[in-house]
Symmetry: C2
Subunit: 500 residues, 2 copies
C-alpha cells in the first residue's frame, strides 16, 4: 500500500534504529507523555445531526456501519466479558497470577469466538509485588491513613520509617527547600488534581508521582508521600507508576487519599509537627514470562495488510482494572468479534492485541513492535482504547509522516463523521493513540486513540474503586460500535489509510 514502500520502510519502519530508543528512554517519561496526550477531558456534546449526509464514505459504508452499530448495541457481549475479567479474575497486575489467568481465558474464549488465530505472544515482564502496607500518622495524633505504595516503590523491609513531614506543593516546591529542611524527613507533595481546570489536570499533577521520590531523595528525604492523583472527593488512594533515578538513592513512595491528604495539609499549613510511619512490604522479583494476547480475522483480499486494535490487559492491583483498561480490551475484542458475527470479513486483516504491562513498563508494547517488526510497514492503522468506557467522543489521530498526515487526518475525520449520531465524531490530531502504540507510532504506523468523556475517569483511575459498577453497559456498547465501525472502514476501504 505504500507508494514508495522502500524509502519509507528504510526511513521509518526500521526498528533497529528504534530499539535503543525504547530501552534507553526513561519509561516514566514515556508513560507520562502518553497519558498527557490521551487523557484530556472530552465532555460529551449533543450530536443531533444525521451522520451520513454529504459524507464521501456514506455510499459505501452507511449500510455496514448501521449494521455494526445496531448489532454492537443490541448484542452486547463486551459487558459480560468485562464482568468476567473484573469479577471472576480481578485486578491484573503485571506478573501476577491474575494476569496470567486473564491471558489464558482471553485466548481460550477468542478461540471459541471463531477468530482465525488466537495466541499469546511472549513478553518478559517486571514483577513488582505490593505486599502488606500500613501508613499512619503518629503525631500530633495517631491515625491510620488511606494510603498505598506507588507502583515500583521499594518497601521498608528493615522496618517502618517514622519521621517528621515537610510539605511542598510540587517539584518546584521541593527544589526551593534547603537540604536541612528536608534531610531525614518525609516529603509530602500536596498538589491536587482539578476536574475542571486543565492547568491542574493529570499531566501536571502526576509529576509529583513520577518524580517526587527522586527529587525528595536528592535533598535527603527518607520517604515520599503524595496527595493521590485523582479527582474524587472520597478517600481513595490512587497508585500508579513512580520513577527512580540510577544515581539517586531510592526511597519508598506512597499516595494518600483525598480526605486524609486534607488532614495532613490542614495540620502542616498551621505549622503543627506531623509525623508519619510508613511500612511497605513492596518488593520486586526477577522478571518473568507473560504474553500479549493476539487474535485475528484474516483479510479477505489483502491478509498481509493489518489494522491492529487493542487495549491493555494488565491493570493495577487495588481495583478490578475495569475502566483501566479492561474496558479497552473488551471494546477492541468485541468490535472484531462483531465483524465475525455479521459476516463482515474485511479486505484487510483485523488484529486484536491485548497488551501486557502498559502500567508498569510498556514491555508488551515493545515486544509487539519487535515481534512484528517486519510487518509494521503493512500496518495500515492501529487503534487503542485506554480512557475508560464513558460516552465515546471520537478519535485522536497521530501519524508520524510529514507528507501523509494532513490527508490522513481528513480521511479519519470523514470516517469519524459517520459516527456523528452517537457523538463519536470528533477527530483530533496528535498523540500516539495510546501508550501501547507509541513504539509503532514512532516508526510510522498511523495511530488512533478511541476517546471517551473522561470527566469522571480520574475519580476511579488506579484506585480500589476501578470496578465494573463504574461501567454503563450502554455506553460501553457505544464504544464497541465506534471502534468496530472505524476498524471496519479502515480495513475495508479501497485505498489504505497509509497510502499517500
Amino acid at each position: 500500500v505504500l507508494k514508495d514502500g522502500g524509502r519509507i520502510a528504510g526511513r521509518r519502519f526500521d526498528l533497529s534504529s528504534v530499539e535503543p530508543t525504547l530501552t534507553s528512554f526513561p519509561s516514566l517519561v514515556l508513560i507520562f507523555s502518553c497519558c498527557l496526550a490521551q487523557k484530556t477531558p472530552e465532555p460529551r456534546e449533543v450530536a443531533p445531526a444525521p451522520s451520513f449526509e454529504g459524507n464521501p464514505f456514506a455510499e459505501e459504508f452507511a449500510d455496514p456501519v448501521s449494521r455494526i452499530v445496531g448489532r454492537a448495541i443490541l448484542q452486547n457481549r463486551a459487558f459480560e466479558r468485562l464482568d468476567h475479567l473484573c469479577t471472576k479474575i480481578g485486578g491484573r497486575l503485571t506478573g501476577s497470577e491474575n494476569a496470567e489467568k486473564a491471558v489464558d481465558w482471553c485466548i481460550a474464549t477468542m478461540k471459541a469466538d471463531g477468530f482465525d488465530d488466537a495466541r499469546g505472544e511472549k513478553v518478559i515482564v517486571p514483577v513488582w509485588v505490593r505486599g502488606e502496607e500500613v501508613v499512619s500518622m503518629t503525631a500530633p495524633q495517631s491515625m491510620k491513613l488511606a494510603a498505598c505504595a506507588l507502583g515500583g516503590s521499594i518497601g521498608t523491609l528493615e522496618g517502618p520509617i517514622e519521621a517528621a513531614v515537610v510539605e511542598v506543593e510540587d517539584i518546584a516546591g521541593i527544589r526551593k527547600l534547603a537540604r536541612d529542611q528536608v534531610e531525614g524527613r518525609i516529603v509530602y507533595f500536596n498538589r491536587r488534581m482539578q476536574r475542571d481546570n486543565p492547568e491542574f489536570g493529570y499531566g501536571v499533577t502526576v509529576q509529583n508521582r513520577s518524580r517526587g521520590a527522586i527529587e525528595a531523595a536528592m535533598k535527603g528525604a527518607v520517604a515520599c508521600a503524595i496527595r493521590a492523583v485523582g479527582t474524587d472527593e472520597m478517600n481513595y488512594p490512587h497508585t500508579g507508576m513512580m520513577g527512580y533515578d540510577r544515581v539517586v538513592p531510592r526511597i519508598p513512595a506512597v499516595a494518600i487519599g483525598s480526605e486524609h491528604a486534607d488532614v495532613l495539609h490542614s495540620l502542616l499549613s498551621q505549622n503543627v509537627e506531623v509525623r508519619l510511619s510508613v511500612s511497605l512490604g513492596a518488593h520486586t522479583l526477577p522478571d518473568a514470562e507473560s504474553a500479549n494476547v493476539v487474535a485475528e480475522i484474516k483479510g479477505r483480499e489483502k491478509p498481509e495488510e493489518i489494522v491492529a486494535i487493542g487495549g491493555h490487559l494488565d491493570s493495577w492491583d487495588l481495583g478490578q482494572g475495569a475502566i483501566d483498561d479492561g474496558a479497552g480490551c473488551v471494546i477492541a475484542w468485541e468490535a472484531a468479534r462483531l465483524l465475525l458475527e455479521l459476516d463482515l470479513r474485511p479486505r484487510r486483516t483485523v488484529r486484536v492485541v491485548l497488551f501486557m504491562n502498559e502500567e508498569s513498563g510498556l514491555r508488551g508494547a515493545a515486544a509487539y513492535a519487535e515481534t512484528h517488526a517486519e510487518e509494521l510497514s503493512r500496518h495500515v492503522a492501529a487503534i487503542e482504547s485506554d480512557g475508560g468506557a464513558d460516552w465515546p467522543t471520537g478519535f485522536s489521530f497521530g501519524w508520524n509522516h510529514t507528507e501523509g498526515q494532513a490527508a490522513g487526518l481528513v480521511r479519519v475525520q470523514q470516517i469519524g463523521a459517520l459516527l456523528q449520531g452517537i457523538g463519536a465524531n470528533r477527530v483530533r490530531q496528535g498523540g500516539s493513540g495510546g501508550a501501547d502504540l507509541s513504539p509503532i507510532h514512532d516508526v510510522g504506523v498511523p495511530c488512533l486513540g478511541l476517546n471517551q468523556d473522561s470527566s469522571y475517569y480520574f475519580d476511579y483511575h488506579h484506585s480500589p474503586e476501578d470496578t465494573i459498577d463504574k461501567v454503563d453497559p450502554h455506553r460501553l456498547s457505544l464504544n464497541v460500535a465506534a471502534m468496530a465501525a472505524m476498524t471496519y472502514v479502515l480495513a475495508e476501504m479501497e485505498t489504505a489509510l497509509n497510502s499517500h
Copy 2:
C-alpha cells in the same frame, strides 16, 4: 389474518356499538384513565445482556433489527424534525394557527420523505382560547402568582373574581366541608404530586384538576385553584384539561406553581386569611376543522393489513409541546421513514398517524376510529408513544380479546426482547397503548404503548418548560430505534399479531 374474522368483526370491530360510548363517555374520565395506564414511572434498568440469544424471532429479525437500530441512532432526523415543530412552530393548541401550521408542514415534509401517501384526515375540534390571565394574592399581601388557567376553563369576562380562599387537600376534603365554609370563596386544592411515591402519583393528584371545579362549585365556590400537577420544585404552572358537569355551575379554574402553592399553604395552614384575585381571558369559540396527519408505507404483500403508529400533534400552549407529544410524533414518523430509507418495505402497511386534539377532547382519536371503521379488523396492531423522549423502557400491551391476549403478550415480549441491548425490552400487559388508541383498543385492535423512563416527565408536562432542551437526541434516537424495530417485526412477521 383473523382465523374467524366474521365472528370477531361482528363482536369487536363494530363501531356502531362503540360510537355512543365515545360520545357519551365523560371525556375527562377517558383522558384521566389513559394517563393512569400509561404514565407510571419506568426507571431505566441496566441491560447488559445480548438481545438475540435464544430468541425465536432472532433468526429472521436479528439482521434487519440491527440495521434499523444502527441507522436510527446514526441518521437521526427525529431531533431536527422535533426542533422544527418546537422552535419554528411552537406550542400547538388544538384549534390554533400553530396546530394548523404543524399539520401542513408534516404533510408536506412526509410527502418529500417519499411516503406512499401523506394526507390530512378531517377532524372537527373544539377551540379553547387562553387569552390574557393574571392571578394574584391580594391579602395578606399583594403578590402576582405563577399561575395559569386550566384547559377548558371559563374566563372572568365580567371582571376579576376576588375572594377569600379555603384550602383542602383533595376531592374528599371538599366533600367534608359544609356549604357555608365554601360559598362565595375560592377553593384551593393543595395535594402535591410526588416523584417517588406511586400513592401520590399523577393519577391520584390529577383528580383535583379534573373534578376540582365541579366539586367546589357544588358547594357554592366562585373559583377553583389547584397546586399545579407536576414533580418540579420550581414555580412552573402546569395546565391540562379540567372538567365541568352539565348540571353544576361552571367556575374558573387555575393551577398555581409549586413555590407559590407553598406560600398559600403556609399562610392558610396558619389560619391567615388569604384572598386571591383571578382574572382570566379564557373562552371557547365554535368548533373548527382540523386534521389528523396520516402517511403510509404500503405493504409489500398484504397492503390491506395495517400497523398504525403515532403520537399526538396537538399540545398545550404554554410550552413547545416537545415531550408532550412532539416527541411521540417524530418517533413514529422517523421510525417509518427509516424503513423507507433502508428499503425495508414490510409485508403489511405501516401507517403513521399524528392525532389531533388528544389534550382537549380526543376528537382526532374518535375521528380516526370513525374514518377507518371498516379497516379496524385489519389493524394487526397499533402503537402510540406519548410519554416523552427519555430512555425507552419497553412497551405496554393491551388487547381487548379474551382468547388471544395471553399468546399475543408472549409474542410482543419476544419481539421486545430483541431490544434488550437498549433496555427497551420490558413488556407489560394492560392499558390501551395511549389515549388516542382507546377507541380502537376498545373494539379489539391489539394496542401497544412505547414506554419511557418518566422519572422527570412530570417536571415539565403541560408547563411552559415543555421545551426541546429537555430532549436528549440520543435517547430520542433510541426511542425511534425501539419503535421502528417493533413496527417492522409486527408488519413483517408471517403470522399477524391479531391471529389467534
